[in-house]
Amino acid sequence: MRFKRVAAVAAAATLAFGLAACGGDSEEGGDTGSGSKTFAAGSTMERLNKAQKIKVGTKFDQPGFGQKGLSGKPEGFDVEIAKLIVKELGIPEDKIEFVETPSKVREDVIANGTVDLVAATYTIKDERKERISFAGPYYEAGQNIMVKKDDSAITGPDSFKDGTKKVCSVTGSTPAEEIKKYVKDVATQLVLFDTYDKCRDALKGGQVDAVTTDNVILLGYIAKDEASFKMAGQNFTKEPYGIGVKKDDTDFRNFINDILEKSYSDGSWKKAWDDTAGKFGAELGNPPTIERY
């Protein structure tokens, strides 16, 4: 039922914004190709525009944000945001090379230049800023807990303090570190896999009592299987998602920030959401304030 309603809303939104986008497209349609736009000499933007290709790191297993579907192309909110940025660089969409960047390698691939930017449910954090820089945020998520539909014993992270409930997350991820503050005995209460899909399967099979990560990821699972899962309580952290770029590349960062702000006002930000993660019924809320530092 809920799915239908969401789909209807999404369709309506797509229609409305599709019209707006059409207008935009015709204006900017020819704006690709080397030298099609002018950037400051020596900037990252100029280099990418000259090269006419870009490598974007995203996730391949995150429904709604970055998931590689059967077509072999990644889809999701992160992917759409990346496309918005790439368009402004004057690079056609088919010249984007998407690289899978699981949580644990994101800093590495930016620092060593494997990718040009990372949009992968990437929480802006001070310790990460020591190695890379962030543009954005373009979305604010929060950590939450997913449990089985009929489970009322877990109401929030504090429910893990008595040492009996088992919780699952992903190796090397922020939620895994965060939940360690609440569990009594890591060895017997915390399960770590390499992807959240496995956590979901473990929850379904009853090997764990809860899965914890950012709310939007959990919403994706709940939307797919409303009969089995539900959310337990409110978000207990704030996770502003940003675009990761090379450390101290301030020009590129400002450039991306400008694009994001523009996308807030011209509706392309909301359209990107409605086409992707919005279908799961997650709320978008107001655009987060861009953090310029």
């Binding site: 949580s103 644990k104 390698v105 310790e127 088992k166 699952c168 190796t171 090397g172 991820s173 895994a176 570190e177 890591v186 060895a187 017997t188 209460q189 915390l190 399960v191 770590l192 896999f193 390499d194 496995k198 399967d201 473990a202 099979g205 009853g206 090997q207 764990v208």
Partner: protein, 235 residues
């Protein structure tokens, strides 16, 4: 290099957990492998077929896939592998007794997978026994079981020890994969955890983890080399 000192307990814990899983899996694999080997040489065709199928399936499948079936197929079959919570044993190997089944799932996968190779090592040992031995035993009127127990197995044992040792070494190395299937805190998962979430420098962690594995594999390998040389001389 500080990480090696600061986090020594983490490395030691990882080593201890890996060692636990290896000891248990080795015992299980040797027992199951022996059973499969008996199936493979048994006179009853369906049992022989089962043994052969078992070996062909598990030898040709990546361990990753076996681990997947253990960790997600078994729950689908309605099992949490509780039969491995053997009283007494789970007091020593505390991970066996917890409600968290992934240690047991990892164990089952390693046992199933390694048993196929144990079976082949044992069988190659049986094949190494000169045919005349078994023939002589039969002409004395020994039955199949007696033949195996008193004549063939005692001799094949010698030829099997070295291949079996290599199988066990390989199993220790394969155990690194369980860290990717829900077992928290073994050596491989520790490496992942420290370098990614912990943010520690890569090289010292790599050294620490390598030493952990080499402590287990290298002495065993050296022992096998000596055994092999001794046998070569005896032959």
């Amino acid at each position: 290099m500080n990480v090696l000192i600061d986090k020594f307990d983490v490395f030691a814990g990882g080593f201890w957990l890996t060692l636990q899983i290896c000891v248990l899996a080795a015992i299980g694999a040797l027992l199951l492998g022996a059973v499969v080997a008996v199936l493979r040489i048994s006179p009853v065709p369906p049992l022989r077929a089962v043994g052969t199928a078992y070996v062909n399936i598990f030898r040709n499948m990546p361990l990753t896939v076996v681990l997947f079936f253990a960790a997600f197929g078994l729950p689908a079959l309605g099992s949490n592998a509780d039969f491995l919570r053997i009283p007494g044993l789970d007091a020593i190997f505390s991970r066996l007794g917890t409600d968290l089944p992934y240690f047991r799932f990892g164990l089952i996968a390693l046992v199933l997978y390694t048993a196929a190779f144990v079976c082949e090592a044992l069988r190659s040992g049986v094949n190494a026994v000169p045919a005349g031995q078994a023939e002589a035993a039969r002409s004395l009127g020994l039955t199949f079981g007696q033949n195996l127990r008193h004549v063939v197995l005692p001799q094949s044992w010698k030829a099997s020890v070295v291949p079996l040792g290599s199988v066990i070494i390989a199993m220790i190395k394969n155990s690194a994969l369980v860290g990717f299937f829900g077992v928290v805190g073994d050596l491989a998962q520790t490496a992942d955890q420290l370098t990614s979430a912990g943010g520690y420098a890569f090289i010292p962690v790599a050294i620490g983890i390598s030493v952990g594995y080499l402590i287990m594999t290298v002495p065993l390998g050296a022992l096998l080399d000596r055994l092999e040389k001794r046998q070569a001389v005896a032959r």
